[in-house]
Structure formats: structure tokens, C-alpha cells
Subunit: 712 residues, 2 copies
């Protein structure tokens, strides 16, 4: 697209010269027209006769609006009259508007009255761009009027947008159907609308000082889109972007931090109950194979390891310094660690930003920057990296190796992760506390885990993002390779208030987070337990090749609930072709219901489960199975579990890998059966039809976003 | 309100005489006007000149519409022209409309063209009434146009409605704010709208043959409501209502069935693996104290009890006959049981309506009716009533007594109920399988449990309701005394399809179920596990007196997630008054955050938890507490659990009963701590911030609907 950037620059220069921060309507119109956005025919009138003349030249009806740099909300000022039908009415409307404007604000400078072609028909939509504190420039799209204002039916994306992304915005609102024309209404030219969204997003990208651009309404007909009203605010600070490290810089630091050859524990202690003692024990007892250097000016050895007075006294290189000393001593110790050339400073102590002590936190960051040290924390429990047997934390050690990497912004949530992992025997590669995120944040972790062969899935609890754009861009790339699950806390108005008092972070608008995380391929977990269950289950399930999900159930009642859950989690129940239906029917009693769910009925022997599951695995048109088990004497829970594992493994050996999840209804023996299934890669739960489907739904959300459903 | 019923009857008589089932526009207008509903000024024109004259008399603009008994969708037929501005245009519009109508349907009888005052301004809303297969006459209210058609923003109630219910409909749509006037728009006269809803609901109640009444649009201004278009369909079958028993009749049967002195087992068997053997064992080993009579023509004694050939041979009265024989033998055996005077026939066998054998099911019901016997089932696992140690089922016996009564339509779900109950040690009064619901259904059970002193809460899994109106009316009454929790399966389009293939029941529209269940005070559980957790937790929590919920947390991160969950579950985080804030601050570190959540911070000793919780319990302005625990060495999990139980029991002893729930974050020891808390009446869960808040939310939903929040 070719834009007249010089025209925009001219308007902005004039604005700066005048010391204004809001564009007048004609200025706004000039700016968007320079970006190829159509606006209604119009003229500026400076007296009643003039208004009559301009209006007659445009053709009636016209709409007339006050032009004043001091009046932003024209309607509130009585500064808008619509449906002006002839020349006399135009002159009269001029007088009324000016009189209203003067009454509203006697000091307002009145430039004149804009006389504008009044468009009829079409749909009113809103296209806008704002500068979000988390994500920077974002574009918004919604249907005009009450739909946006009352129902908040609006969607957001990072600017600039691709053509596909712009189109996804138009399909992404709840009332999208309206623009396709319902009940005989005119459809909108959605391609032209998508084009308009791109132009707006390019405009704010090219001119970052445009803090806010509102095209409201835009009138979208079947053949054109016209920005009827344009409102633009300028703020020189709106163009500021946070400091970023390159991917290579991040990896250079993170590789040394996560896989250190040598760590120093500053504040190491021999005294039970001290944090510096717990950290030492966890490093030593956890089996860390690298060098461990206790630093304590008053000790000569701790846990059998020689202690040094200062980091500087350690022979050889040190990759990581773990700080287990009070906050006030951190700056001096960090200077020493920086001089020693550590890659990472793990700041366990609290007493920084979270308690209001922002100066100390800023001072520490400045020292780290000076020495090229990256900081994890402060105010954290530490971190685990199981491939190195590294438990750099004051909590208990954790050693069940596996493919799940987790992080949490809060220590409490970190402990929940640890407890859940241990209880569910979930194999993890890393658990990382990020705390105040004075420096290292989620996109640094994503960048490391992306290339970490020990990590298959990343799950993150977060309350805010310091640089949402960097996160979104990184997640967009990483989620193509590995599922990224995010629990975004503070997602509601009340929640956000709590987040604010907890971290001092600016509360983000949840709708913005939601849209942009989804667009980045992130799987958002609705709650803590969901995040943990997704993290545990998603890596076990093979990636489905297509959307065809089949439910096979011994309990019709479970089948109904599993179907409900499929709809809740955007899974598609396959429409079973006739031949497949016949094939299922061959295995089930005549009163069982084929179709989908396949209801094999309750009194069936193990062979019926086995035959129907084998059919589901063997038919290439079926991409995923959901099993509903009903406890009977004929097929007891462990019999069911063993036959399922047996048939699934038989097909795995043949190279057939499909996700299989199960819901078990029955007496307490179904708990053991569910655990057995889970241990063998079939995500199974007792007493719930929702959880297995939710985990499968998370797998599908990821696979869709990563473009892996090759059969669909 | 006074209605001209004779005018409506006259129109309907004419319609019947003509053999029509749809009212013409003038007839529809006459019917609603007879019920005091305003319609626009109008006249019928039968030629172009006539149209010009009628229009001139009404004043311009007018809207003109085809009148034909054969054209229902006037717009589709090109039979509507709006904004007709003068007499000449009216004549021309007449010609156009008639020409279009003839093109649309050459056989249509054309009565003429309706010329109608064209109203301007105001809001378009829809008011309608339909005959629902489950609930009978229901009224609907929504905002007109795309809001109803695309966003389905519509709400339903049983007709007739009270004034308060009609008002709740106007507040119950998502876009309710629009009618209150947003951004300078005109507010609607909501009292007049509520009045209109009542008139429509009275109309269909008085004339049940009105199958469908559509007032669309109704134009609602600040001063008037006018039904612009009226569409009414008549169906003589629309007035049919299902057979009902009186409350006294239901109780007479149900008391004998649930608390029998004597039961017969038809098809009792001594042979292991037979259903008739399992039932006998469960009755005997379960400890049932009443008389047990095995019935088997080929045995003389079973499990040490004398067997009889037929029910008729049993000496003395028999309350319940449990059928453990194949379906085809049921009719003859039921004749005998009926002759013996049993109150209830428990039909365990399948092979009735669920396999398509509706004739057999109808035959069995007819036999039961003849003898005054009530049927439970067929196609069920049986039922449990623990106060009598009665396990009348082929599943395993269950004996943990408590206040929860459960029912399920599906056997699979029944087994999940049993397993969950046993695993969670949930005390139950009853578990009842209702299966095909050939006779006894949920409102019979509700009526029994309402008066059953052993039951505190009722939880029901259902896929359909045979008589939704009877259920809603009973639930409305019962839920004032005891929480009623419903898991309605088949709530989505896909789910409903599965329900249909499973039970042959007509799939209800979920929006109708949702609104009417809520209006009846029922707590709807979103899923199976939720139903079970609500059933377990809600009775343990004291009923809150008001809406003020306070979160006390050791983990700020949990506080944010708990706040999120409060919003999800419609709980109000109390705005802490200054004096209370000061009181909390006295106990927590200076960098802790008072306000709500009260963040006591992570490193605190047990006394900080104890002091803040005691303050929360003692201050009468606080009505409920949510605790967030963070596992630390200073306050280990069991220390926390014991101090919480201690302080809660201390206040209970003083007569202070407030609901307290807890979320525990920590290593695996929090599991034991959560169980300890739960056993002592504090609903607590590890690794989840959602579940404890969901259970508290369920308690609040019930307390609000039952009008128990006396402090609010």
C-alpha cells in the first residue's frame, strides 16, 4: 500500500507548533485520507450562508458538526445535527450548533461548522488504534453503537496487522454474522473493512506518536467503507518502546543460567532454618553435578564445601550467583558478582518493588546492566532445572524429570505447582519463579525453553507482562513448536484490582490480553487447576491430524455429558459416514446407538470396548477418541484400563498415534484404573466428564494454532 | 387487569369456523387489544385510492403491509413498504405490494393492504409466548433485530408471570442497559414493558390454544409501548397438560417407597452374578431392618430367607416390589404386585422405551395406574435410602449417612455418584436411579425430600424433564427450604442430539431450561464434577447472612486468582471500611496489603493467620471468608489447618456461623490439611483456587434465591 506520509507529517508538525495534542476533524480527515481511507464529502462553513452553500454543493441530506480544538465530544456539546434537509435548514443548523457550543464552553475556539455528506444504509462499525501499556500499538474492531458500548463486542490485535489477521478480526466479533448480512440485510464489504484495519494499523505504526485513532463510526456498505468521524490524539511518549535483548543475547545468558557449570550461594549458611542453608542443602542433596561455592565471610566450610568470603575469591568462572541475603546487602554483593562475570543473579530476597522499595530495585537493575548480568527475581523461591539436577531454591527439591517447564510470578502458585507435580508424578524440566520480574521475564524463559530439548511444553502463571509485545512475538514463534499454556491472573476487574495492589503492575484490560494471547497461539487456562492439568496431560497426547472426534461410551449418560463438554471446548463430533456407522453397529447390541457418541450400552463385555476402540484407532478418518466407561461386573475398571492400554499400544506399535482420553464412572476402583491409564498415555479421570475433554480441547487449540491439523 | 375475553373468543371462534390456524394481522391486533395492548393507528385499504385516503387520515409517514391468510412472512414476500411519505406514494405502494404478493404466491387470498401509523424513535423489543414441549406456556422477551437474532439475547419465564418476574425479564437480558438509556439515548418505559409481558402471558394462559404469540417489534419509548406487528398461531393441542398427582398423593406413595416396612424381590436368586442375587445381598448385608421377601417360583429359601412363588403369597402388607426379572415378564408380575397393594414397583430391567420398546413401557404404566402403583424406572440400578439402611440395587451397598439426596437419569452417572461419595466420604440420605422415568420423576422425589428430615440438599442429574412445569413449581417451593442442585445434561446443541438418541426425550432448548431453572431457585451445576462437589460442600457451609466476602491470603498470587474466581461466581468482594482496614493492618506486616484481599504475606507465623481470621469471623459486617494458604516452614500445612478449625470452632461455640472456604498452595502435605479442614466443615482444596470459591458461590446462589441474605 502506498501512503502519503509527508501529508501526515505536515499535520503533526503543525500540531506540535501549535502545542496541541488533539487533531481537529479536518486534520484527522487529512491524516486518514493520506493513508487511503475514504471519508464523506464535506466542507467547512464559517457562517450560516456559507453552510447553506456548502450543503447545497454536497447534496442533501447533510450532517453538520462543530469544529473546535476545545470540543472533543461534539454530541455532548450539542454540536451535531443530522438529517439537514435543505439550504434554509443548513443555515439554521449552523446558528444552533454555534450557540450550543458557546453555551457548552464559552472559551472554546470555534473554527466553524463541518458540513458533511450524510451517508445512509450500511453497517456502523468502529475501527481504532490505541497505545496499550502492555502491548504497545494495538488495533480494535467492533460493531458500532450499543454492540460495542453495552455488549463490549470488540476485538484487538497487535499493530501492524497482516491481511489474514485483519480478516480474523472481522470474523472474531460475536456479532460477525451481522456483517455477512442476516435476514435480508445488506452484507458489508469485509475485504474493504480488513483493508481499512490494515491502513489504520500501518498509520499508528509509521507514526507512533499517534496515541489514539478512533474511526467511529465507519459506515460499511456492500461496496464501500467510509470513515464518517475521525478522532486522533497525539502523545510524544506513545512511541516509547521497552529495552529488548536479541535472541542471541538472551540465549547466551539463559543457557549459562539454566545449565550452569558453577554456582555461588551468597549468604550460604550452615544454620538450619536459614534460607541460605535450605538453598545449599537443595543444591547438594538434589544432586547438582556442577561446582557449588558457598559464600559467607564468617564461615570456612558449609555442608562440607569450602566457603569463600566473596564471590571474587572463587577460583575460575561462576555462571550463577544465588542471593540468600537481605535486600539491603544485595547491591554491594551484586557489584562483586558482576565483576566476577556471572551470567545470572538469582535474587531470592523480598523487600524490593513488591514492598514499595522501587529505588532499591532500580539500583540493583542498574548494577546488573552495567556488568551484563541478568537478574531472576527479586522476591522468588528460586528455580529448578531437572536435567542438571538443579534445585536452586529454598523449597524442597524436585527430581521427577519430564517435558513440562513451568513458571510462576507468585511464590504461592509456585508451591502449588510443586505440590501438584509431586502428587501427580508430573515430570518437569524446570520450575522457575519470576517474582517481581525486574529483568528476566516470560519471553526470556520462552526463548530458552524453545531450544531446550528437555522441554516439550511451557506453562506460565502470570499477573502481568512487562513487555507484552515481546512476549506475544516470542510466543507466536515458540508455540509453533511447543504448546505454551498461560494462566493469566487478574483477568477480571476485581482480580485486576488485586493484582495492582500485589505487584504494582498496571492492570491490563483482559479482553486485550485474551485476543492477543490467542492470536499468538497461546492456550489460555481458565484457572490454576486447569493450567496444571493441561500441563500434565497435553504432552502425553499425540497431536491429532484432524478435527474428527469420536466418543465411544458404555454409559449413554456419560455420552451426553461428554458431548456437552466437546461443545464447551470447541471439539467437533465427527459426522459418522454410513460405512463406518455400519462397522460400529457390527460390534454393539441392536439397541445400542451408533452415530456419535457410539453408545455400546452398559452390560457389554471387554471385547465390545476393545473392538470399537480398535475400529476408532484403525479408521484414518477418525482423529481422536473420547472414552466413557461405566463400571459393571462384566467389565471391571482395571479390565477396562488394561484393555484400553493394550489396544492403544498395539496401534502405537503399528505407527498409529491418536489422542485418547477417558472418563470413568464407577465405584472407587475407577481411581486406580484412571491412574493406570494416565501412566500409559491415556489421559483419564474418575467422576468427571469435563476434565478429559478439557485436556483434549487444549491439545486441539494448540494444534490448530500451530497449523498441525493436516487432515482438516 | 381487566380483559375483554369475549372479543378474543369471538376471533378464535371465527378462526375455527374458517378452519384456519393463523390469525390475520387485524385479527391479531384485535386479540392483543382486547388484552389492553396498544397497537399503532391503522386501517385496511382494498384499493390504491383507499390506501391514499386511509394514510392521509392517519398522517404520514405510514408503513403498508400485505394482509393475506396465506402469507405469514410478509417481508420475504415483498409485502411491506415503510416510510410512505404522501398520498400518491401510498397509492403506488398499494399497487407494488399486491403485485409482489401475487408474484410470491399466485394462490394467496389477498384481503387488502394494512396502512399503519409509522412510529419513530424508541427501542425495538420482542415479546412473545410459545408452547414449550417441556414447560408449556412460556413468555420470551428480548431486544429486537440483530440482538435477538444474532446474539440470542433473549430471556424466558413460565406464563403466567408475576409483576416482579416480568420486571426480572427486562433486567435479565445482556443488553438491559440499552433500555435504561445509554449515551443520551431515550430510556424505555420499563414498567409499561413489564405490564405488556404480563398481558401476553395472561392471554396465552387464558387461551391455551394460542400456541404462539409474537409481538415483533414492540416499540418502547419513554412514555409508551406499542405492538407494531402481531403474529398469532393457534393449535388446539397446545392446551394439553400432563397428568399430575397431588402433593398428598405423591407423599403417600413416596413415604412407603422410600421408608418401606416390607420389600419383595421379584426374581430373587441364590446364584452369584445374577441381578436378583446382588439385590438380595445388598438388602441383607446392607442392614435393612424391614421384612425382605424373596420371590422365586423355583426356590424355597434364598440367603436364609423363606422364598415365595408369587408376591400374592407373602403374608401381610408389602410396600415395595423390586423387579429383577427380564422385561417381558414384568407385566404379569406387576399385575400380581398391584393386586397385593404394593406402593412402588422398582423396575431394574432394561428393554423398555430406551431400546425402542415403547409399547411394553406403556403397558406396564397402564397396569400400574390401574392398581395405584407408582413405578421407579425402568432401566435403573435401583435406589438407596441410608436412614433405613436400604440398598435396593444391584450395585455395591452404601452406608455413609448424611444429608445429601442424589438422583440420576443414567446408570453411568449413578455409579459416578456412588464412587465419588465413597471416595470423598460424602454422607448421603439417598441415591435414586430414575432411568426412563416412565412414572416417578424428579418432582416426585423433590416432594419427598422436601419433608425428609434426613435430607438437607438435593442434587439431580437429568437429561430431560417429563413435566418441566411441575418440576419448576415444586423446585420453587422446595428450594426455599433446601438447596436443589441440577446437572442438566444435553445442554448444548450437540449434547441435546446425544440425549435424544439416548432417551428418546425431546431435546429442550437450553436457554429455556437455564432461565426457568434459575427462576425456580435451582442451582445449576456446569458439569458432573461440579454437581458432586457442590453436593458435598454446600451442606457443610453455614448460610451467609449477607454479600460481604473477604479473602485472607498468605499468597498474594492466590489472592488475585481467588478474586478472579469471585467474579466468575458472582461473589462480592467487600469494600473494607476504614476502621476494619486499620484493624486488619494491626496484624499484618507493613508491606502486606490490606483492602480485599487481605494479603498477610507469605512469611507469617500461625498467629497472623489466626488473628486475621478471628477478626473476619468476629466483625458482623463480614459475611463469608475465603482463605488462601501458602505453605511455608513457619506455618506448615497441618498447623494452618488445625488453627483454622480451632478458631472456626471457637466462634461456632459463641454462635457465630459464617461460611469459610480455603485454597491451599503447597507441597503434598496440603492434601492431608485440606481433608482435615473439610472434615471439620471448612470446604478446602489443594492446588486449586477455583473449586472452593465455586462451592461458596453455589451456596450464595441458593441463599439469594431463597431470600436468606437478611443483612443485604
Amino acid at each position: 500500500m502506498s501512503y502519503d506520509k509527508a501529508a501526515v507529517r505536515a499535520v503533526l508538525d503543525k500540531l506540535a507548533a501549535d502545542g496541541r495534542d488533539a487533531l481537529t476533524a479536518p486534520e484527522g480527515r487529512a491524516v486518514v485520507e493520506a493513508y487511503g481511507i475514504r471519508t464523506p464529502g464535506e466542507g467547512l462553513a464559517t457562517n450560516p450562508e456559507d453552510a447553506a452553500g456548502v450543503a447545497s454543493a454536497l447534496g442533501f441530506p447533510v450532517v453538520m458538526k462543530i469544529v473546535s480544538p476545545d470540543i472533543l465530544h461534539k454530541t455532548d456539546a450539542g454540536g451535531v445535527i443530522v438529517g439537514v434537509a435543505d439550504a434554509a435548514a443548513a443555515a439554521e443548523a449552523y446558528r444552533t450548533i454555534v450557540r450550543n457550543a458557546r453555551a457548552y464552553n464559552p472559551d472554546a475556539r470555534i473554527v466553524g461548522v463541518q458540513v458533511q455528506e450524510q451517508l445512509t444504509g450500511g453497517h456502523e462499525v468502529i475501527v481504532g488504534a490505541v497505545t496499550d501499556p502492555t502491548f504497545g500499538k494495538i488495533v480494535a474492531f467492533g460493531l458500532g453503537g450499543v454492540l460495542v458500548e453495552v455488549l463490549r463486542d470488540v476485538t484487538f490485535r497487535l499493530a501492524p496487522t497482516s491481511p489474514a489477521t485483519a480478516r480474523s478480526m472481522i470474523d472474531g466479533i460475536k456479532a460477525a454474522e451481522i456483517l455477512r448480512g442476516v435476514r435480508g440485510a445488506e452484507p458489508a464489504d469485509t475485504e474493504a473493512l480488513a483493508d481499512l484495519i490494515r491502513r489504520v494499523s500501518d498509520l499508528v505504526t509509521d507514526f507512533p506518536e499517534l496515541a489514539e485513532v478512533d474511526l467511529n463510526p465507519v459506515l460499511a456498505t456492500a461496496t464501500s467503507v467510509t470513515a464518517v468521524d475521525v478522532r486522533i490524539l497525539v502523545d510524544p511518549d506513545a512511541g516509547k518502546t521497552p529495552q529488548r535483548f536479541t535472541r542471541a543475547e538472551i540465549l547466551a545468558s539463559m543457557n549459562r543460567i539454566m545449565r550452569p557449570a558453577s554456582v555461588a550461594v551468597i549468604g550460604a549458611s550452615a544454620e538450619d532454618g536459614k534460607i541460605g542453608n535450605s538453598v545449599m542443602k537443595n543444591l547438594v542433596n538434589g544432586g547438582f553435578a556442577g561446582a557449588i561455592h558457598p559464600v559467607n565471610p564468617k564461615a570456612s566450610e558449609i555442608l562440607g564445601l569450602p566457603a569463600v568470603q566473596s564471590v571474587g575469591d572463587i577460583p575460575g568462572d561462576v555462571d550463577v550467583a544465588i542471593f540468600a541475603i537481605p535486600a539491603k546487602f544485595v547491591p554491594a554483593a551484586l557489584e562483586e558478582a558482576g565483576a566476577k562475570g556471572v551470567a545470572g543473579a538469582i535474587l531470592i530476597p523480598s523487600g524490593f518493588g513488591e514492598t514499595g522499595n522501587h529505588e532499591l530495585q532500580d539500583e540493583v537493575v542498574a548494577i546488573a546492566r552495567k556488568h551484563g548480568v541478568r537478574i531472576l527475581g527479586p522476591n522468588i523461591y528460586g528455580y529448578y532445572y531437572t536435567p542438571q539436577h538443579l534445585s536452586a531454591t529454598f523449597c524442597t527439591p524436585y527430581d521427577v524429570q519430564g517435558g513440562v517447564a513451568l513458571s510462576s510470578q507468585s511464590g504461592g502458585i509456585g508451591m502449588a505447582i510443586l505440590g501438584f507435580s509431586r502428587s501427580a508424578r508430573m515430570g518437569v524440566s524446570a520450575i522457575v519463579g519470576v517474582g517481581n520480574k525486574a529483568d528476566i521475564d516470560e519471553d526470556d524463559l520462552l526463548t530458552f525453553f524453545e531450544d531446550d530439548d528437555h522441554t516439550q511444553l511451557i506453562a506460565m502463571h502470570l499477573e502481568d507482562l512487562k513487555d507484552g509485545r515481546a512476549f506475544a512475538e516470542t510466543a507466536q514463534r515458540v508455540s509453533k513448536r511447543k504448546p505454551v499454556i498461560v494462566l493469566k491472573a487478574g483477568r477480571t476487574a476485581q482480580g485486576a484490582r488485586a493484582a495492582s495492589s500485589h505487584t504494582g503492575a498496571l492492570a491490563g484490560d483482559d479482553a486485550v490480553y485474551d485476543d492477543i494471547l490467542r492470536e499468538s497461539g497461546v492456550i489460555r487456562a481458565p484457572g490454576l487447576n486447569d493450567m496444571l492439568e493441561y500441563a500434565r496431560g497435553v504432552p502425553l497426547l499425540p497431536t491429532p491430524k484432524g478435527e474428527n472426534v469420536v466418543i465411544i461410551t458404555g454409559a449413554g449418560g456419560s455420552g451426553v455429558l461428554l458431548s456437552d463438554a466437546c461443545v464447551d471446548h470447541q471439539l467437533s463430533l465427527m459426522r459418522i459416514p454410513h460405512d463406518l456407522d455400519e462397522a460400529f453397529r457390527a460390534y454393539i447390541p441392536p439397541f445400542g446407538a451408533a452415530g456419535n457418541p457410539v453408545d455400546i450400552t452398559g452390560g457389554e463385555p471387554p471385547s465390545t470396548y476393545r473392538n470399537t476402540i480398535a475400529l476408532g484407532l484403525s479408521d484414518p478418518r477418525i482423529h481422536a477418541l473420547i472414552l466413557g466407561y461405566w463400571h459393571t461386573i462384566v467389565t471391571p475398571p482395571m479390565t477396562f484400563a488394561e484393555l484400553v492400554v493394550d489396544v492403544v499400544e498395539e496401534f502405537r506399535a503399528k505407527g498409529v498415534h491418536k489422542p485418547v482420553v477417558a472418563s470413568l464412572s464407577g465405584d472407587v476402583e475407577v481411581e486406580e484404573a484412571s491412574e493406570y491409564l494416565y501412566r500409559h498415555g491415556v489421559v483419564a479421570y474418575p467422576y468427571t466428564t469435563e476434565k478429559p475433554v478439557a485436556v483434549l480441547g487444549a491439545k486441539y487449540r494448540w494444534a490448530r494454532a500451530a497449523g498441525l491439523l493436516t487432515d482438516s
